[in-house]
């Protein structure tokens, strides 16, 4: 896999996982105390704030000159670990009437995955200025495809097969596995793959 296709693959995966998780979080918040429309607004506000901050962090990573693939891999690995804890930390918190922690959980979950967005575009874009817009749009296209497939498959397939808790755990496993597959063909693949599979 070339670097460009690796970037597109990551962009697709991040879009898929982000929007899948949003669907699951809306359901989680809806169970707590909101009607579906209000739950969607509640989750969207903090999810979008998280995406915005994550994009800013990704911008800083791109500006810093550090290895973008390693940085992205580390953040997505942490995102997978964080996502895996969501079912286990939200249940006792909500039961203890501490559901005010939900906005922070939503915000952090969105932020961690969104860091990859600018980095994927950096990796997948062309150095030729005449092809820059075209190459950026291709990476963005894959992100939108993933963002579209995520809610469809999660809302209409996954949630019909497994419960909310297992669906959230499936997402965290996918975050690590997806990036590990891509890491097989990316620069620094040995170290990154080891990091992701451990």
């Amino acid at each position: 896999m070339t670097q460009v296709w690796f970037a597109r693959w990551v962009s697709l995966c991040v879009g898929f996982l982000s929007l899948s998780q949003e669907i699951l979080l809306v359901r989680l918040v809806g169970f707590v105390h909101h009607s579906p429309p209000r739950a969607l607004s509640f989750v969207l506000v903090f999810f979008l704030l998280g995406i915005a901050v994550g994009a800013h962090v990704g911008k800083l990573v791109c500006r810093s000159g550090s290895n973008p693939v390693s940085a992205m891999g580390a953040v997505l690995l942490f995102a997978g670990v964080f996502d895996a804890t969501i079912p286990f930390i939200t249940a006792p918190l909500v039961a203890a009437d501490h559901d005010h922690i939900l906005p922070m959980i939503i915000f952090v979950a969105a932020t961690l995955k969104s860091v990859a967005f600018p980095i994927a575009h950096q990796l997948g874009s062309s150095d030729d200025s005449s092809k820059l817009g075209s190459s950026v749009s291709k990476v963005y296209f894959f992100n939108i495809v993933g963002s579209t497939l995520g809610p469809l498959l999660t809302g209409f397939v996954l949630l019909q097969m497994v419960g909310l808790e297992h669906a959230l755990l499936f997402g965290s496993r996918s975050a690590r596995s997806g990036l590990a597959c891509g890491a097989q063909h990316a620069p620094g693949r040995a170290a990154l793959s080891w990091l992701l599979q451990s």
């Binding site: 607004s41 969207l44 704030l49 911008k59 600018p118």
Partner: protein, 116 residues
């Protein structure tokens, strides 16, 4: 422009397809929204290409643009979901969004003329 007619269009579509399969309704709504959403989606690559011409890398350009874009989306979501709809109805929210969109288009067109 589409926004100003969207509420009526989507309601009319729902009336016509009221007995249709949900997949048919989804496909029809997809086609209705395809043009305006494609136009909105096209703005990001164009803006990235424009900002990157100033010397910034793609990652820095798109990170900054996406930060602003998503921050605006979060603010809009809060205003509509928690403020506007408490006092006004859905069609007025759509019309207000359409007017803001037209205002942004007018500002951009004016700035583009100044840059030439």
């Amino acid at each position: 422009m589409f926004g100003l007619f969207s509420v009526a269009a989507i309601r009319a579509l729902g009336d016509v397809l009221i007995d249709s399969h949900p997949a048919t309704l989804a496909a029809a709504n997809f086609l209705v929204l395809l043009v305006p959403t494609s136009m909105m989606g096209a703005t990001l690559p164009m803006l990235v290409a424009y900002v990157a011409k100033g010397g910034a890398s793609v990652g820095v350009s798109i990170g900054g643009l996406y930060f602003a874009n998503t921050l605006g989306a979060a603010i809009g979501c809060y205003i509509i979901g928690f403020l506007w709809l408490m006092h006004f109805d859905l069609p007025s929210a759509v019309n207000a969004a359409a007017m803001v969109n037209l205002a942004v288009a007018a500002i951009v067109a004016s700035m583009a003329r100044g840059l030439r």
